[in-house]
């Protein structure tokens, strides 16, 4: 994406996210308050974030790749299981991948 197109995408995506927030305030009695809608939205969030984990950890362009990101993700999962705060989890993953790459792993 060019710098100009990225700007367009940033403004458009921000407008979409703001519009969604505003809709919730303007239509509080709407079907948005239905349990099934809330349930589906929560699942969509889970699916998007999980897919982003997979794509971010195991793909480069259109190829599936196994490199230093995978062990780093395992370290992050262990840290999360031990209830480490967000920033610690992220830093541990970065350090793991950086060290493995310094040792020669792709």
């Amino acid at each position: 994406m060019s710098v100009g197109l990225t700007w367009v995408a940033i403004v458009a995506a921000s407008a979409v996210v703001f519009a969604l927030k505003l809709v919730g305030h303007l239509l509080p009695e709407h079907w948005l308050a239905q349990p099934r809608v809330a349930r589906t939205a929560a699942l969509v969030t889970v699916a998007l974030l999980s897919a982003l984990v997979a794509v971010q950890a195991a793909t480069t362009g259109r190829s599936l790749v196994a490199d230093a990101r995978l062990p780093a993700l395992v370290v992050a999962a262990v840290a999360l299981a031990l209830r480490a705060p967000f920033i610690v989890v992220v830093v541990l993953a970065a350090v793991t991948a950086a060290v493995l790459r310094a040792l020669g792993m792709p």
Binding site: A9, V23, H30, A38, L43, V44, S50, S63
Partner: protein, 251 residues
């Protein structure tokens, strides 16, 4: 507990949530510039979009070489839950028409969680506004710090920033797939991972994530919650910062 005590407790909770959430703005800023965004673009996301999950997702799609449409769609879909917070906070806030856009912009996971966790409406209002404004200020300040830091580092792979991005998404989804009642969420997460990886070689970058969202829509529409299932974890996760969250910090 007196009303004053309740308000003070709401402020304390708001401040601790704001600091913890603001801090991970550092990782957002660093990842955004590692993905190729400029510092002004990174700050535009934090100032205008102001929704952590959507911002990380936007940057993730851009980093993977995704098209503008895929980045907008992914950020927008992750922002849908913000629309569901409106009906939870409007009865507490009852803001004037003029303030409505401000309240809407500040309606995020953290402000909704703190606002709705209070015992009375006055404390709820205090909790919502202090958290919303506090997170807004600190999230933007730390985004800038992270962007400057990321810019100074150079090659993102050398410092493992690509792995950090994956870990950030894992930390965001973690509270939603652990704990009681998360069985369906776990299945959806697994299905989403399979769909995203299986489709990666065949569709343009950014699209696998959107295809994965379909798994959730189907699961949400075809399944019925068993009567014993607790309400959906709409809020649970997103003081993403601490696995415990503000509910347990409440005195």
């Amino acid at each position: 507990m007196t009303t004053d005590d309740a308000r003070r407790a709401a402020v304390r909770q708001a401040v601790s949530v704001s600091v913890a959430t603001g801090l991970y703005g550092i990782s957002f800023g660093a990842l955004a510039v590692a993905a190729g965004l400029t510092i002004p673009q990174t700050m535009a996301l934090s100032l205008l979009m102001f929704s952590g999950g959507s911002q990380f997702a936007f940057v993730g799609v851009v980093a993977g070489g995704g098209a503008a449409g895929a980045a907008i769609a992914t950020a927008g879909l992750l922002g849908v839950r913000n629309a569901l917070y409106g009906p939870l906070v409007t009865p507490i806030l009852r803001v004037s028409r003029r303030l409505r856009p401000v309240a809407a912009q500040l309606t995020i996971d953290e402000s909704t969680a703190v606002g709705t966790a209070q015992r009375d409406r006055a404390a709820g209002r205090v909790g919502f506004w202090w958290t919303g404004v506090g997170v807004y200020l600190l999230w933007n300040a730390f985004s800038l710090a992270g962007a400057l830091l990321g810019n100074a580092l150079g090659d993102p792979r050398r410092y493992g920033l690509d792995a950090a991005a994956a870990a950030a998404f894992l930390a965001l989804v973690w509270p939603r797939v652990t704990g009681p009642g998360a069985r369906l969420a776990q299945l959806v997460a697994l299905g989403a991972v399979v769909v995203a990886l299986a489709s990666t070689p065949f569709v343009p970058a950014g699209v696998p994530v959107l295809l994965a969202a379909l798994v959730a829509v189907v699961a949400g529409l075809v399944t019925n919650p068993p009567p014993t299932e607790p309400p959906p974890p709409l809020l649970a996760p997103d003081h993403l910062l601490t696995p415990d969250g503000p509910a347990e910090e409440a005195p």
